[in-house]
């Protein structure tokens, strides 16, 4: 049996996205030097949402890319089967840009570490910030922290946090799964 607990519902998620956008604007103003990179596979939905909201607020185009970290992960050849990659889609260079990496859940920090490596194939950014919707505290394997956080969750290793999106899962919500 698995217990489900709703952490954030659809309304609150929408508010959180809005709040994160305004936090970004405080630091990045009109986004003329800034780009957004969503991390595959699940960070891209959040990046899409933030991007859409930002363009509405700023009333201008904001650069958005999708970054896949599979080839840069540190657990290749340590699993039963190979890691299957996703598409990377970055149609601009990030040379001298302010990059905002976006993922849905920050847990061990290993994905972000791979993301930092993967990103460098597209240029040397001026600086990099991290935005996550859910920060699972006290579970880091690496010294990685987010600059913008939607919500914080204290959870144990057996638990699982899933961010669901209307576009793919039918409903906007964040759920914590706890095995009995």
């Amino acid at each position: 049996m698995v217990n489900e607990r709703l952490i954030i519902d659809s309304n609150k998620l929408q508010l959180t996205i809005k709040r994160l956008c305004y936090q970004l604007i405080e630091n990045h103003h009109d986004f003329s030097d800034s780009v957004i990179l969503g991390l595959q596979p699940r960070g891209i939905y959040m990046a899409d949402r933030i991007h859409k909201e930002l363009e509405q607020i700023l009333n201008k185009k904001v650069l958005l890319g999708r970054l896949d970290v599979t080839f840069f992960r540190d657990d290749f050849r340590r699993r039963e089967s190979p890691l299957i990659p996703n598409a990377t889609q970055i149609d601009f260079t990030i040379e001298n840009k302010k990059v905002i990496l976006i993922d849905d859940v920050l847990y061990t920090g290993r994905t972000i570490r791979s993301g930092l490596d993967a990103m460098l194939a597209y240029g040397r950014p001026q600086n990099v910030e991290l935005m996550v919707l859910v920060d699972r505290r006290y579970s880091r394997h690496l010294p990685v922290e987010a600059n913008y956080i939607g919500t914080q969750v204290d959870s144990i290793a057996e638990e699982r946090v899933k961010v669901e999106w209307k576009e793919t899962d039918g409903k906007d919500q964040i759920i914590l799964y706890t095995p009995e």
Partner: protein
Amino acid sequence: MEKLSTRHLLGIKHLTRQDIELIFNTADNFKEVINRPIKKVPSLRDTTIANLFFENSTRTKLSFELAEKRLSADVVNFSASGSSVSKGETLIDTVSNILAMKVDVVVMRHPNPGAAVFLSRNISASIINAGDGTHEHPTQALLDAFSMREKYGDLTNKKVVIVGDIAHSRVAISNIYCLQKMGVKVKVCGPPTLIPKYIHALGVEVEYNLDEAIAWCDVAMMLRIQLERQGADYEGNQVKYFPSIREYANLYGLTLERLHKLNKRITIMHPGPINRGVEVSSDVADSEHSIILNQVENGVAVRMAVLYLLSGRNLE
């Protein structure tokens, strides 16, 4: 989680359609990687790969080596000329010696059909067949089908004719297996002496007239006349499969004139190296009908995908 059904790539015959699709989907991602400003990823940084070429090769060897280096693998190269093979060492001894140096993957080209299968039964590393005699050349077939997929999308019910020296061609056999698994209709075309007697057993039709063959097909895959595999039979007698190169070029050479007679556009492919003016005229090879250079580019992406998927197992 998805993975290949095999730990070696010995021939297309041993792959399933799911395997081929997994390789293609992975190759799509690597194609994006090799078009980045920085074309290298660290996935295979703890993998050592030996390229053993017991037979000459330029394109395949370069393509494999590039694929390996773009994946950050450590690479050792070996070619038969100037090695202990000429001193009489057996294949297993040569390879065991190389494996004693802790090699994870072996890419091998060998003049004897079945050499890769033989090796896979006797050593522990993953084997990738880069051409074994007149048997199979799986990565070539994969990159050919990948290039067609890039041009046409779904390959089901597409029509492909393979033209030329079918009897001596490992590219033809691998392509027949691969294309049929992807739902393509395949015909072969060439002089009767260069069509194997039992080719029907593979489920392909034979067409002896090039003009009719290209009128039927969507893609014409032109093969090189393998002059090095002709000339003598097992007893050393002179054998000629056709009277002269000029006659072959007249009957089976693809020219712009032939293409202009068709009322449709077909795609021209060639595994290389091209004998210009023999199987393909220069103007066809350089025309917009040809995707020969796309094939070469896709070769690196497809080989990266194969290496990646075969090396992604647990460390032993």
